[in-house]
């Protein structure tokens, strides 16, 4: 099972003729994903590494049956490209792009939600189900297949979580980076709901950070979950009013800070770690191992 993707997932790369896009088309295909083509307006009819390039998402979907897009277009074109993907019927969009204006992110994520499309990002490292589908910058050779779901804003925290789970002999079902920008297509709760419904997933690691209410708002759902949740909130030592790498990682209102998020998640029954290096040990203990 796993979440978000399956063996039938058919992927297009928007922006496939650029350096980043063509590189990802190769990497994703090499790690087992079914990449069926790409889109770059005005470049239709060409090929990139044997993959057909289409002028539009509509053409790509019609010709290939694609249902998923990994988007690498330059930020100024992301607004149009994301709307086009949703309009063409794409059901999962990974916005790998960073530096998308907040206003554009707000509009495109609202549009996608209204049309039933899941958007990861902006500034998402993607998602990966080891051994099946890779839609991420992570290299599956470092991932152990198993029963733990991982959701984090940060791509680095996705990789670190998988590493410290592996140290405890625990593998992952799906790893999801929801992105580090202030406005996101999916928040922690959206992904936790999918992990809870996934029979293959036996526990979830959730890494949150300062800024926004995503983690705080996830707490009521964590309380209802039947699977153990190990949670870490990073950025608690950040100086006030500083952007900590991610555009969205900035101390704000009380419920946007680490202590309130930790308290809410602890009250919901999550197993809290002080930092990401503890997630494997905590999950092992939560699973009764």
């Amino acid at each position: 099972m796993a979440i978000l993707t399956g063996p039938e997932t058919r992927v297009i790369v928007q922006g496939i003729t650029g350096n980043v896009g063509s590189g990802f088309a190769r990497r994703l295909a090499a790690s087992g994903s079914t990449v069926v083509g790409g889109v770059t307006p005005g470049r239709g009819g060409r090929q990139v590494d044997g993959l057909p390039v289409f002028d539009s998402c509509h053409e790509a979907v019609t010709a290939t049956g694609a249902d998923t897009s990994f988007m690498c277009v330059p930020a100024p074109f992301a607004f149009d490209a994301c709307h086009e993907a949703v309009d063409a019927g794409i059901k999962l969009v990974v916005l790998y792009i960073e530096n998308i204006p907040f206003l554009d992110a707000l509009r495109m994520t609202a549009y996608a939600r209204a049309r039933g499309t899941v958007v990861l990002g902006p500034n998402s490292a993607g998602c990966v189900t080891p051994g099946r589908v890779n839609l991420s910058e992570l290299d599956p050779k470092f991932l152990l297949k198993g029963n733990i779901g991982v959701v984090a804003k940060s791509g680095a925290m996705c990789a670190e979580s998988a590493n410290y789970l592996r140290e405890e002999g625990l593998g992952v079902t799906t790893i999801v980076s929801i992105g580090g920008d202030p406005v996101l297509g999916a928040y922690h709760r959206d992904i936790l709901e999918r992990f809870e419904a996934d029979p293959e997933t036996k526990g979830v690691v959730m890494v949150g950070e300062i800024g926004g209410r995503s983690e705080y708002d996830a707490a009521p759902f964590v309380k209802t979950m039947t699977k153990p949740v190990v949670a870490v909130i990073i950025g608690g030592s950040s100086p006030p009013d500083r952007q900590m790498g991610h555009l969205g990682a900035r101390l704000g209102a009380e419920e946007e800070n680490a202590p309130a998020k930790r308290a809410a998640l602890a009250a919901a029954g999550a197993h809290l770690g002080d930092n990401v290096t503890e997630v494997g040990r905590l999950m092992r203990r939560a699973l009764g191992g």
């Binding site: 990497r27 930020a75 100024p76 530096n99 998308i100 204006p101 907040f102 206003l103 554009d104 707000l106 509009r107 994520t109 609202a110 939600r113 209204a114 910058e137 992570l138 290299d139 470092f142 984090a152 804003k153 940060s154 791509g155 680095a156 925290m157 990789a159 670190e160 590493n163 580090g180 202030p182 406005v183 928040y187 890494v207 950070e209 300062i210 926004g212 209410r213 995503s214 708002d217 990073i234 950025g235 608690g236 030592s237 950040s238 100086p239 009013d241 500083r242 952007q243 900590m244 790498g245 991610h246 555009l247 969205g248 990682a249 002080d274 930092n275 990401v276 290096t277």
Partner: protein
């Protein structure tokens, strides 16, 4: 990009809004980005009581939102039209990539006009590609001198302790926060923590600039770290070592490198006289022991 009060007032005056003058105090109004609801929010406050009204991105600013805002602020009937015009200007600015537009105080004049007492405004710096008119405001960067220097390179830095002994340069926002959290928990004093963003593989000259910025803080210990998914850790190490010859770091240099081609990178760092680690916890402990 933050505008001054005067610059903000000029923007409003250019759109026909009355600026300053005498009048009855109504309160404060602002339009902000509500990141969690994925919409703008019109926030009105009078006598310490705040009301936040969501603006649906599909419908825009509807009349009922304006009526609720006016009622909360007790806008006089004769000033309603002027008030609504003012809020519409705020919304137009929000749709022009303003992250926050705040008017404080809002005044009701005797002639029925609503006047702007003070303006605070911040635009989304990322959207400057479609706003050539912003060039007149120049490049205004937030933060300390050191943070600004890294920002000009395309990196992100935070300087939590100007007397700290440690500078940490890492690849990834999550690592930036994690390293600061873990070093702080170990009672280490961190001068500055830097997320290189997309810079690690942009060559020796970029890395040299990063080292020059770090060197200006005279760190006793510099930590360089990252986990590489693409097979480039050795290329990164090569750039770091070359940059250190051009702009040598003072004090100890501790490295933590993991991921693709990490063993090669560690061997290169060891040969260059750095202190390489393949485990983040060990690297941070090595940094913190000399805090």
């Amino acid at each position: 990009m933050i505008l001054t009060d005067e610059e903000g007032k000029r923007l409003f005056a250019a759109r026909g809004v009355a600026v300053a003058g005498e009048g009855a105090l109504l309160g404060r109004i602002s339009i902000r980005l509500d990141r969690d609801r994925r919409c703008h929010a019109l926030v009105v406050e009078r006598d310490g009581k705040e009301m936040s009204l969501s603006i649906d991105p599909f419908t825009g600013l509807l009349a009922f939102v304006l009526r609720r805002a006016a009622k909360h602020l007790s806008v006089p009937e004769e000033a309603r039209a002027s008030f609504e015009a003012l809020v519409r200007v705020l919304y137009v600015l929000a749709l022009s990539d303003a992250l926050r537009v705040e008017i404080d105080p809002v005044l009701a004049r005797a002639d029925g006009a609503i006047a702007v007492g003070g303006v605070a405004m911040e635009f989304d710096r990322i959207a400057r590609f479609r706003h050539p008119e912003w060039a007149e405001y120049g490049e205004r960067l937030p933060g300390t001198e050191a943070e600004q220097a890294f920002m000009r390179l395309g990196a992100v830095a935070a300087e939590p302790d100007p007397h700290g002994r440690i500078v940490a340069v890492v690849s990834g926002a999550g690592l930036m926060m994690t390293v600061l959290d873990m070093l702080t928990a170990m009672k280490a004093t961190v001068r500055c923590v830097v997320d290189m963003q997309g810079l690690p593989l942009q060559g020796v000259e970029v890395m040299r600039s990063i080292f020059e910025n770090a060197g200006r803080m005279s760190p006793k210990i510099t930590l360089i770290g990252g986990r590489f998914q693409a097979p480039v850790a050795d290329r990164f190490a090569e750039a770091v070592i070359a940059a250190n010859k051009l702009a040598p770091l003072t004090g100890r240099v501790v490295t933590w490198i993991a991921g693709n081609r990490a063993p090669e990178a560690q061997a290169m760092f060891a040969a260059a006289g750095f202190e390489p680690h393949d485990d983040m916890r060990a690297a941070l402990a090595a940094v913190a022991k000399d805090r």
